[in-house]
Symmetry: C2
Subunit: 333 residues, 2 copies
Amino acid sequence: MGLDDIARKPHERLTAHLAGDMARVNALIRERMASEHAPRIPEVTAHLVEAGGKRLRPMLTLAAARLCGYEGEDHIRLAATVEFIHTATLLHDDVVDASAQRRGRPTANLLWDNKSSVLVGDYLFSRSFQLMVETGSLRVLDILSRASATIAEGEVLQLTASQDLRTDEAVYLKVIRGKTAALFSAATEVGGVIAGAPEAQIRALATYGDALGMAFQIVDDLLDYDGSSSVIGKDVGDDFRDRKLTLPVIKAVALASAEEMAFWRRVIEKGDQRDGDFGRALAIMDRHGTLEATRQDALGWAAKAKAALARLPSHELGEMLADLAGYVVARVS
Amino acid sequence: MGLDDIARKPHERLTAHLAGDMARVNALIRERMASEHAPRIPEVTAHLVEAGGKRLRPMLTLAAARLCGYEGEDHIRLAATVEFIHTATLLHDDVVDASAQRRGRPTANLLWDNKSSVLVGDYLFSRSFQLMVETGSLRVLDILSRASATIAEGEVLQLTASQDLRTDEAVYLKVIRGKTAALFSAATEVGGVIAGAPEAQIRALATYGDALGMAFQIVDDLLDYDGSSSVIGKDVGDDFRDRKLTLPVIKAVALASAEEMAFWRRVIEKGDQRDGDFGRALAIMDRHGTLEATRQDALGWAAKAKAALARLPSHELGEMLADLAGYVVARVS
């Protein structure tokens, strides 16, 4: 490994290692997002798909399949499937959150309208479904259909749980499993399934993806309160202003004094936020050590992800996946 | 057949004939729309599913399977699948159309919010997908995933084609195939597939469903301009006010004089509608006979549906399906 390789971030090393496969995934994505009859579809989709996301989820599928020695064609289809599901959920999320920006660009619902985002999301979801049917693997279909239901259920749960101070850590974990970990986990699991890997390896891949996704989302939620070391462009305090109940706040609410509880009720439940409230929230969390406790939870999930990799064949892709788990939490280490 | 039976409408006779199967479909729908974690899901879904729709689409699946002699269990799953897909599209349609009422009741997006309608629709779509995977039939999955893509594509096409006077009959037919006929056709086709019917019969069932759906939607669009004999509760003139380009207007635009074209541009493209414009639109359509021509098209599709049934085994369900095709156009006969 040269110095250039060492200096690269793990997802860049994965990208380089899987460049041939990923080029084919991108070609398939472009082919399948086309619509002869409705040019609005590729317009909206290209806006998102070409926006320069890291293609993390399809990369997980490719890496899992290759790590298990797969030499066929279906991992390309499954990687495109996973990216289509992800893109469809982004389109619908932006409608639900009424977002104006994603990845530093205006969202599709702003450029076109909510209608286009809803319907093009439905189209991509249908196309993802067609792609996975083409693999002819009922087990893959079972995994991905279950993941889709978990994603949708998590999103609805988030909708009803937000601004409700009774939301506990168990509910939070269900929400982020739906929001992030379910698709990560399905992405790695189907890679193993399509490769015909032994059951223990398939379970290890599913565990890796799940734990990686949990770590990823907890870090994301933590950085919204403690973004000093953040390498992402997200604004600190967005979740607070949106009154989203994420782990650092949930932990603080569980330990709140009567006076603090009154504060959380006002700013989260009632949405009555004043100058200095974000600073006061940080001070309360600092007093109870909930940012540090959240950080420890993220590190725990990353460690679980790495541990799962030990049950897989020795392979340079395994090392890259381990580095990826470390990289995800490095943002808060 | 007693007098009571003769007096009944065809869909009521089908309902009575398939009552045992349909009770099991309803039980399965209730079971699968439940969500342990997100009670909002069954709330929203029950509002729609229990709203007393005619369950026409699942009935088509049950009838097709039984007509082909099916004695298994999977037609119940597939009928529930089809109803879930239909309900998911209704939820998303109401968001896209910003509707306030459906089947005489407030829509889910009005009672809850657009967010719930988008996400619960996604949940139902995922659940439908899980249900069909349980049948273990890749052919069924192929048919239903293709139908889902056609539905979504048709909806996007409708979005971009509406208010555009260049929309011709070919585009209109694609839109209504997506909007209505694709799911009707898939509903009947999978009934035949699951029953292991010969290819010619499966094709006949698909053709019946498609033609029935086309007739159904054309009649619906016609009644919006000529609802004197209407038995439905829909208000005449809704499509005109919403500037939707449906078949009676498309035919009138194709035959328009320069003066009429200016009228259509003003009321449809520009949306500048004044008192008396709906009456003027009716007079123009009457002059060119486009309501009658639209009626003839609907009758043609109903005849095609009936003709397809001739290629199926002789069965009392076949007679009921033929009556159903007649009933659909009886509203304009």
